[in-house]
């Protein structure tokens, strides 16, 4: 077989986010990923939400997957001309106005500390804060659901106080329990499945957040506001 370059490769060169242009790349022949330039912030995500609404309405789209300041568009079949798809996505991004989704507010009772908070001591060391301070900083913030993914119903939450950012582990915990309240880099979330997990656990939530039998299986939706309410603090 003769290997030839894809003729739309020039549009896919690696452009550092800071240069201000959105980037479109592909996975196989049907899926295209648009990545927003700039900061990982609510402003960029609001435009991704707007873009999602536009792209969802395209007749040749099978499925869209909004991510963290990016959007994966999956087409029902390999589009005739990938260059046209790239151009359409970039144009839709340019035209995407910032929208705010009128989400609901979800309160999640958390048992901070205790047996599930296996990474709290390491976070204290990293942040140079007491466990009590960390818990207070975590539950006083208000979070927005940016996107869902990775596990059924798992919401990526934005709004973590930079003082308690903590990088993901290089060696994941092998069996972190479903319900663990975790920090991964500048994000926080609640583990939806028991299993390997690279995020750092600081507490535990009982709340059932995914039900495959429900017409709306996931409790969280992009745009929702989340508050963590200390049900118990065990330090």
């Amino acid at each position: 077989m003769i290997a030839t370059l894809n003729n739309h490769m020039p549009l896919r060169e690696i452009v550092p986010a800071a240069q201000g242009r959105a980037r479109v790349s592909s996975i196989g022949a049907r899926s295209f990923l648009l990545e927003a330039p700039g900061e990982f912030d609510l402003a960029a995500q609001r435009r991704i939400w707007a873009l999602s609404q536009t792209v969802r309405g395209w007749p040749d789209i099978a499925e869209i997957v909004p991510g963290m300041t990016n959007l994966l568009a999956i087409f029902a079949e390999a589009p005739e001309d990938p260059d046209t798809v790239v151009a359409r996505l970039l144009e839709a991004w340019d035209n995407a106005r910032s929208i705010d989704l009128a989400g609901k507010t979800i309160e999640i009772p958390v048992h901070y500390g205790g047996e599930h908070a296996v990474d709290l001591p390491a976070l204290c060391d990293l942040a140079q804060l007491s466990d009590r301070e960390i818990v207070r900083i975590h539950h006083e913030a208000t979070y927005r659901v940016f996107a869902l993914g990775s596990a059924p119903g798992f919401g990526y939450l934005h709004g973590l106080d930079p003082r308690i950012y903590m990088p993901r582990k290089t060696v994941p915990s092998l069996k972190m329990a479903k319900g663990c309240v975790t920090i991964g880099g500048m994000q926080t979330g609640v583990a939806m499945l028991t299993g390997p997990n690279g995020w750092n656990s600081i507490g535990y939530a009982e709340l059932q957040m995914f039900d495959p039998a429900s017409p709306t299986p996931a409790m969280m939706a992009p745009g929702d506001t989340v508050r963590f309410v200390p049900a118990r603090i065990e330090l």
Partner: protein, 331 residues
């Protein structure tokens, strides 16, 4: 009803999957060789999306408790019905009490049992596929075990098949020009460069030119490949983004992972390439320990293959409907 008499640990109920829920973190799942499921369903007179059994650990056997049209597709190897050797890719009628047995196939990985009417397990979020990770769908969200009994759907119209079977020329043979054969025991898998391809030196040469082995730490979620590790020239921090089966990610260790049917919905590792959708079924038939090589494809080629597959499926459908109509008229 069918009863599972013998099974390995990882055989599940699968259909064409549960797409449409990746945006809430739900993997699409579905057969690793969806092509085999589509053809099997057409042969037994079902909708393409009907559920069957994916057998990836052998031997496997089941008993029919009523007269049932069935077909075994996917893997090579001859299914046995009450010790009578049958052909794969061929629909037969089993009588009540007969036992279907699948032995370890000679070269391929996964066999599919399609039954007239499909498996009547509850549809969860639009699919009967088993979500192993989410523990829902299929047969109570878990692999089949000995003694499981599965209800069959009503085929409104018992589709007759000829007494000595109704066979198709299997895709690998009928589409030999479209799907190149193994080269020295290595499966060629076509892929397109991915979003971070340019981060790998020499135009990704180390990735494209070496032969990779499918490691034993591979399953329906993904294949981990062993070989000479490949490293990007700079390491970048990616934000979590949607991914699909076929994406070839390069984790820090440098040995690529190809996401398969139970693909995670989100990822963040650099993507060196993406397997074209129409080659995924071949990868789904590649066994642990076997060797693959990635062949750089083009979008135009991927589209041409997609169209050839669609033509073949349509041809099988029209022909099998024609034969069944004729049989009915003669009956």
């Amino acid at each position: 009803m069918i009863e599972i008499l013998e099974t390995g640990p990882f055989n599940t109920v699968q259909d064409l999957g549960r797409p449409g829920y990746r945006d809430i973190g739900v993997s699409a799942s579905g057969a690793m060789d969806p092509f085999a499921v589509r053809i099997g369903n057409i042969l037994v007179g079902n909708d393409e999306v009907a559920a069957g059994i994916e057998v990836q650990t052998f031997p496997f056997s089941l008993r029919f408790d009523r007269r049932t049209v069935f077909a075994v597709t996917g893997a090579d190897g001859d299914p046995m019905l009450d010790a009578l050797k049958l052909l794969p890719w061929c629909a037969y009628t089993a009588e009540a009490g007969q036992v279907l047995e699948l032995k370890h196939p000679p070269t391929l990985a996964r066999a599919y049992v399609s039954v007239g009417g499909g498996l009547d397990v509850p549809s969860v979020m639009g699919s009967r596929s088993t979500s192993l990770r989410g523990s829902f769908g299929g047969n109570a969200g878990r692999p089949l075990v000995k003694g499981d009994r599965l209800a069959l759907g009503n085929s409104a119209d018992f589709a007759p098949v000829p007494a000595n079977g109704l066979a198709v020329i299997e895709p690998a043979v009928a589409l030999r020009d479209v799907f190149p054969d193994f080269v020295d025991g290595t499966l060629p898998v076509r892929a397109l460069p991915g979003g971070e391809h340019a981060l790998f030196p020499d135009d990704g040469d180390a990735f494209w030119s070496q032969t990779w082995k499918i490691s034993s730490r591979s399953d329906r979620t993904g294949y981990r490949l062993s070989g000479e590790p490949i490293k990007p020239t700079t390491s970048i921090e990616m934000r979590s983004h949607g991914i699909v089966p076929g994406v070839i990610q390069v984790p820090p260790g440098g040995e690529p992972i190809v996401q398969m049917s139970d693909a995670n919905t989100a990822g963040g590792y650099p993507k060196i390439a993406g397997v074209i959708e129409c080659d995924l079924w071949r990868l789904g038939q590649a066994r642990i320990g076997s060797r693959i090589r990635f062949v750089r494809s083009t979008h135009a080629e991927a589209r041409a293959i997609e169209q050839a597959v669609a033509r073949y499926v349509e041809d099988v459908r029209t022909t099998s409907e024609m034969i069944k109509r004729a049989l009915k008229a003669m009956a």
